[in-house]
Symmetry: C2
């Protein structure tokens, strides 16, 4: 394990070695390692880093050295980078840029980081509709040095409004004297500036395109979002959802780079909320002390019953949350979800009830752990309670994300622990009520 810079101070360092060690180096060691790379490789390495990583390299550098590195970066990456610095440092960094880049960066900073405008690159290949194909190819070749991609060439009118798109490959294949207007596609997929980045990712993934133009209300093209930006978005959004489903706030940073104080903060909030929720189980339990006094045997199955509800609820909520994130389930589908989960819950409950009843019967045969005349009733109590609790848990788990969405909260907040907590209290109520029905006059 490479844990300090000593390990990476060879004569020569490869980018892969540095990439491997990167997460465990502090910012000084990172800079040292970075300086050990040959210049061209250092440039590639720098451009591949996350904004956070680029910031950690730049922070260690003297100001005069920074200019060359910042000028390597396309404007959308500079805009992201600035987000990592304080307002004061941000101004200093902006001064290092050339005028046109600074204008582009400032325009980008007006957008939220997580919307299409904040994700886009303002530099893209553009041509006029009246150009011939050969003229367009020559024109794009002249723009190419400043562009991230020339894969798609956008056809704009005099007011920068989008008329169509043609791939560079199609230009190469078309007859050279045809006007661009005749080879372009007019039905261009676009996204509005303020579209959420997750939705932008979905558009790109769904249409299998390599870039999508971002347009304002007048259909003027402001920039393009490329698919490589979107891979990161899909991964980041999935990570946030997973962390929420697990019952923590999103970490916003790699696990090992989150300080323990940060980590506890992100987790303590939800854990405390869940704990306060669980306190109601104590209140519920106190209502049933009389029953327990008379039939202590009921206590045996309390953890079993409530956790079965929690587990089935976790399953249902996780499935529905993910399906909603992928747009496979929308709010208007709620009734179909309820029907499906009601049947699934009942079947699952029946399966567990059968196993549970079997357990009581077998244990009775082996250990006689329950008063003899009551054990068929205990078995039935456990079985009926399981059917009720599992059905209830499944239904709660499925409906809760829909309710949260309807109230404009994030459905992913209906985490497994949250559902389990909600279900626990009701699980106890169901269990003891079934017991009262089954055992009244016998044990109770």
């Amino acid at each position: 394990m490479v844990e300090s810079v000593e390990d990476v101070q060879h004569e020569k360092l490869t980018p892969d070695e540095l990439r491997d060690a990167w997460p465990v180096l502090d910012s000084e060691e990172r800079l040292e390692g970075f300086h050990l790379l040959p210049r061209e490789e250092a440039e590639d390495f720098f451009l591949e880093l996350s904004s956070r990583g680029q910031a950690s390299v730049l922070q260690g550098m003297p100001a005069r050295e920074r200019r060359a590195w910042v000028r390597l970066m396309p404007p959308d990456d500079v805009a992201d980078l600035l987000g990592e610095f304080s307002a004061e440092e941000r101004n200093e960094l902006c001064c290092l840029l050339d005028d046109s880049t600074r204008r582009e960066v400032n325009a980008l900073l007006a957008y939220e980081e997580d919307e299409a405008g904040g994700l886009m690159n303002p530099r893209f290949a553009r041509v006029r509709p009246e150009m011939t194909v050969e003229e367009a190819i020559r024109y794009v070749r002249r723009q190419a040095p400043h562009l991230e991609t020339i894969y798609y060439v956008y056809v704009l009118d005099n007011e920068q409004r989008l008329l169509g798109v043609v791939s560079f490959r199609e230009l190469l294949l078309a007859p050279g004297d045809k006007p661009v207007r005749e080879v372009m596609h007019e039905d261009v997929i676009t996204v509005p500036e303020e579209l959420d980045q997750e939705a932008v990712a979905r558009v790109i993934a769904q249409h299998d395109i390599l870039a999508v133009p971002v347009v304002d209300a007048e259909k003027r093209v402001k920039g393009i979002v490329t698919v490589d930006d979107v891979v990161d978005v899909v991964e980041t959004e999935a990570t946030e959802d997973i962390q929420k489903i697990g019952g923590t706030a999103a970490l916003d940073a790699p696990y090992l780079q989150t300080s323990i104080v940060q980590m506890v903060k992100k987790r303590a909030g939800w854990l405390a909320v869940l704990f306060v929720g669980e306190l109601f189980t104590a209140s519920a339990m106190s209502r049933y002390q009389g029953e327990l006094q008379k039939a202590l045997v009921l206590s045996l199955f309390i953890p079993l019953i409530i956790s079965s509800g929690g587990n089935s609820g976790s399953q249902a909520s996780t499935l529905v949350i993910r399906a909603m994130a992928l747009d496979q389930v929308r709010l208007r589908d709620w009734w179909r979800v309820v029907r499906r989960e009601l049947s699934s819950g009942l079947v699952l409950g029946l399966i567990l009830a059968a196993i549970g009843a079997l357990r009581v019967v077998v244990w009775q045969a082996l250990f006689h752990s329950v008063p003899h005349d009551a054990y068929p009733l205990i078995a039935l109590t456990v079985a009926f309670s399981l059917i009720g609790v599992v059905t209830w848990g499944t239904l709660t788990g499925a409906v809760l994300p829909l309710v949260l969405r309807a109230l404009r909260f994030d459905p992913a907040s209906a985490s497994a622990p949250f559902v389990a907590t909600l279900v626990d209290v009701f699980g106890l109520v169901i269990y003891f009520n079934v017991a009262q029905l089954m055992l009244a006059g016998k044990l109770l």
Copy 2:
């Protein structure tokens, strides 16, 4: 809500309308809707569908109609499509292909669907190192009609071994009489044929590249994986992980398109396993019936204590599972994870202990629910138990995914419900042992 084909039988249908209705249409309705699209839009729509969606369209078509549609598809998509059909239908479909595509498809079918070889497109732009830049551009233009992308041009020797790569944009910018050898990059990022698709996605995302060549042991290029294939992979893998974390088997299909029978099958297995695990709580409880008999008040806090362990365990396991999926935590980092989670667990335990003790004290003041002389001891029992249970839960949740990885199982199987179940039994043991220590001679 568009729930049947009647709603979509307008004079003319737009692709967006069909896409909206798609998930809720049966396969006959899909075909009808599909036939309502203008031919060119139908082609685009067809190519954007998932393999499953394409299969559902083709299945409804008469065989003579199928040929035109299958021939639209690039070989890697055809290979995926065949996976949706039975062996017999597969042969029929293969007969519809032209000879060269059939050979390519057969080569692709030799790979697993979820490795680099199964994901790649065997058609890519290739040139020889001794060509001049102008020759190379002309040569790529001739290949372009058969290629998905010409963004990267790969430089191969006579044995198809990879010598370097140059982007088409760089070719356009280079002096036309230079040999390709002098403008190409020699340090090409490649992936081996059998690399898992998740790792391929990570390589592409990390290096911000639009495609990566797949090479065999002799460095011969077999195909390329493009970034648009990878967006789907990232999303699919995240979905599978999320579903596993929620304690179900991966659904492999959109939520609303999974039949209830399938749904129950995917869920019942894990739920039954967890239930059998939970049965141990009943055994644990039966060991402590004596204590409960003497101090029934202990029963009040059973759900609270065990669920606190489960919740903190869910948090820890979810964080570690996701960090491992993103390669932020590797097996060799286990000691760092243990140290972090031990401290986090202790702090979180202390926080919940404080809230828990406060609850006992306040309730006592309000309701006198506990025998008067014992309540400070009960409060301490609850507090110490919470510290122990939360620390134990956190540690178990964090270590379990690492253990699963070490045993070559999928870490994501350490689902929230699985951890909660494991922790429940130990939670009871901790609670009653603390109670024995604290209350011996008083209540017990």
